[in-house]
């Protein structure tokens, strides 16, 4: 008799709590949207002079002359994209290798220390990476570059120019070391989240270990792709470590030996001493460019994740079976 109204009242109250909860979480989620919109708006507002004066040519020209007031962002865009893509090309296989070893192959007692050590790498401040870059990496890179520049390889555009040591190669390698822990820790978690049944099914069908791992990788590819994007974001926005080794020369060159520049680095380097409104607005517009490119890359990767994420559903029952023909 009495149970009913009580439970009814509870349900009603629960409904109200749910509503409040929903309301507040929605507010917080909108807050994020609002912050992003506000950042975009502020960047736009504070770069209006430069936008009005240079228009789209800001994205396409490579003059950066604070004395005469000519500003173009292309060398910085180039340097940022080049160094990040280069770092990602190197870091992805290494990081996936680490993740696979730790989660699938390594003996149990090594897993925790290995995972701990890779995560420790992620916790090192970037200024420390930068100092390591200057004092250890750059001299080593210079030796390698000097060796390469004595071989016929020197004629390739990729290895052209004098062996300074600092330059794109050092920046790319330093970024590689910095993003590997990010990609590998997230990938490791993704692989650990792959249900054991997936691997067991593969083994049951006679798959080798490598084939079973491939099954797990395919199952977790959305997450792994997300990990790579996370690493890309990290490389893209990295400032201090990059500026210490990249050479800070706004030029567009295919050569890994060439000193170049990045968007985040030029803002950090020149903002504090920048005088004159146009100069400040041009630096802010670099921030806007960085913001827009980051948004576009994130949107594209979402799209990619979304499209690959849908694919396994269609073949939900087949990933293990797919491995079989190769095993047979």
């Amino acid at each position: 008799m009495t149970g009913r109204p009580v439970s009814f009242r509870n349900r009603r109250r629960r409904g109200r709590d749910d509503g409040g909860f929903r309301f507040w979480t929605a507010i917080f989620a909108l807050l994020v949207l609002g912050v992003v919109a506000a950042i975009g708006f502020e960047l736009f507002r504070n770069s209006s002079l430069s936008i009005r004066k240079f228009g789209w040519s800001f994205w396409k020209t490579s003059d950066w002359d604070p004395v005469s007031g000519e500003f173009g962002a292309l060398p910085f865009i180039w340097g940022t994209v080049y160094s990040s893509v280069f770092a990602l090309l190197l870091a992805t296989p290494i990081a996936l290798g680490i993740a696979i070893f730790v989660s699938e192959i390594s003996p149990h007692r090594f897993r925790r220390p290995l995972a701990f050590l890779t995560e420790l790498l992620a916790a090192i401040p970037s200024i420390v990476y930068g100092l390591w870059g200057i004092f250890v990496l750059v001299p080593a890179v210079r030796k390698v570059e000097t060796l390469i520049s004595k071989t016929p390889l020197h004629r390739l555009p990729l290895f052209a120019g004098p062996p300074y040591g600092i330059g794109m190669l050092s920046a790319g390698l330093l970024l590689t070391v910095m993003v590997v822990p990010f990609i590998s820790s997230v990938s490791r978690e993704v692989l650990r989240a792959v249900p054991l049944t997936q691997r067991e099914a593969a083994y049951a069908l006679g798959a080798t270990r490598w084939e079973a791992i491939k099954v797990a990788l395919r199952y977790g590819r959305t997450g792994i792709f997300g990990a790579i994007i996370l690493g890309f974001g990290r490389a893209f926005g990295e400032t201090m470590a990059v500026t210490m080794v990249i050479g800070n020369n706004p030029q567009i060159s295919a050569s890994l030996f060439a000193p170049q520049y990045s968007m985040a680095a030029v803002i950090a380097n020149e903002f504090s001493e920048a005088t004159g409104d146009l100069y400040l607005h041009a630096l802010t517009e670099i921030g806007l460019v960085l913001f827009v490119i980051t948004l576009v890359i994130n949107a594209l990767s979402r799209l990619l994740i979304w499209s690959t994420g849908r694919a396994p559903k269609r073949r939900a029952e087949t990933p293990a079976a797919a491995a079989v023909p190769e095993a047979a």
């Binding site: 003059d63 950066w64 002359d65 604070p66 004395v67 005469s68 200057i134 004092f135 750059v138 001299p139 210079r142 004098p162 300074y164 040591g165 600092i166 330059g167 500026t243 210490m244 050479g247 800070n248 020369n249 000193p259 520049y261 680095a265 950090a268 380097n269 020149e270 903002f271 504090s272 001493e273 920048a274 005088t275 004159g276």
Partner: protein
């Protein structure tokens, strides 16, 4: 009497009451700007605070550009800059005055394998090196200045500051004075469009790159070179003498420029006349409004500048800054009387 706790509370209340009026009298001045003189400014503000415990001066070393912006918007009580404000900037900050505080210098550093001797440079040679016109260390122009030094056939790798910096401003200001081509092609600013070379971050970035790279040349602040025991080259001054930078040489440059000192002190003392003047020297300035809105603060500020011009200068040598010559101090005191 009745209760020790109550007594304690009463004592605390009395102490607090006593502290409040004293706290209310403490006057805070805020300043912001150049990073180069920040160590000596910090020293001055703390020494001045010892003499006047009720005055607290805060200084944020956010860079000359930031200092000029903040004093223009009047968000600070005084600004500081390594370069004088441009006429356009002064238009935005009517009534702003410049007060030289100390001086610094910039020196060329290099790393040539097998060369131990101190190299001699002239302004035009330095400009041509940084313009990319002189590319080898055994170039005739360098060899002619350094007879008896065996210069190798090594490429010159120019290193410059990547971060916007007063050091770059002084260096470029000097090169523009001695090389018409530099003035036309590159110009003078805290950041430049460099014809050649790589950028290092900060003095330490430039010095580190020069140290590691055989054949490199760079420029750093004299203070930085002295404190880190980095050897540097000699530069020819206007009288034709090759001088190794020293604090005395910098003060001499300021004295050499004092005769032609403009009323607003916005003067470049690079390539200053005088046999003992080191040519790549510069003032650094405090930026103060002539009409102080807050008269109490204004009075303290002028009092501080008075103290800095006289007593404060003795702290310079310890921190490796060049003190102001007496002529400049006299001129500044006359100008300071106009601050109201």
């Amino acid at each position: 009497m009745k209760n020790p706790v109550a007594n304690l509370l009463a004592a605390a209340a009395v102490a607090a009451a006593a502290a409040v009026p004293a706290g209310a009298q403490t006057i805070q001045l805020n300043g912001a700007g150049a990073t180069f003189p920040a160590p000596i400014y910090t020293k001055w503000f703390s020494e001045y605070h010892k003499l006047h415990p009720n005055v607290q001066i805060n200084y944020q070393a956010i860079g000359s550009g930031g200092g000029i912006r903040q004093i223009t918007e009047r968000t600070v009580d005084f600004g500081a800059s390594d370069g004088p404000m441009t006429p356009e900037q002064i238009q935005n900050a009517p009534g702003i005055m410049h007060f030289p505080t100390v001086m610094g210098a910039v020196v060329p550093v290099y790393n040539i394998p097998g060369v131990e001797a101190e190299l001699k440079f002239t302004g035009p040679v330095l400009a041509d090196i940084y313009l990319g016109k002189i590319t080898k260390w055994n170039d005739r122009a360098i060899a002619a200045l350094n007879p008896g030094v065996k210069l190798p056939d090594t490429d010159i790798a120019c290193v410059h500051r990547a971060d916007g910096s007063g050091t770059t401003y002084i260096w470029a200001d000097y090169l523009a004075k001695v090389s018409p081509e530099w003035r036309k092609r590159v110009g003078v600013n805290t950041s430049l469009k460099w014809p050649v070379g790589v950028g290092g971050k900060g003095n330490e970035g430039v010095a580190g790159q020069v140290k590691q790279q055989p054949g490199a040349i760079g420029y750093v602040e004299l203070i930085y070179a002295i404190q880190n025991k980095i050897d540097f080259g000699l530069v020819q001054n206007m009288s034709g003498r090759f001088l190794k930078a020293s604090l005395a040489g910098v003060t001499a440059a300021a004295a050499g420029a004092a005769n032609a000192m403009p009323k607003d002190f916005r003067v470049s003392i690079t390539n200053a006349p005088g046999p003992d003047s080191y040519p790549i020297s510069s003032f650094t300035w405090l930026l103060v409004y002539q009409n102080q809105k807050d008269k109490t603060k204004g009075k303290i500020l002028t009092d501080f500048v008075h103290w800095m011009l006289r007593d404060g200068q003795k702290y310079c040598e310890d921190l490796a800054y060049a003190p102001l010559p007496a002529q400049v101090v006299t001129l500044e005191e006359a100008a300071l009387a106009r601050v109201k």
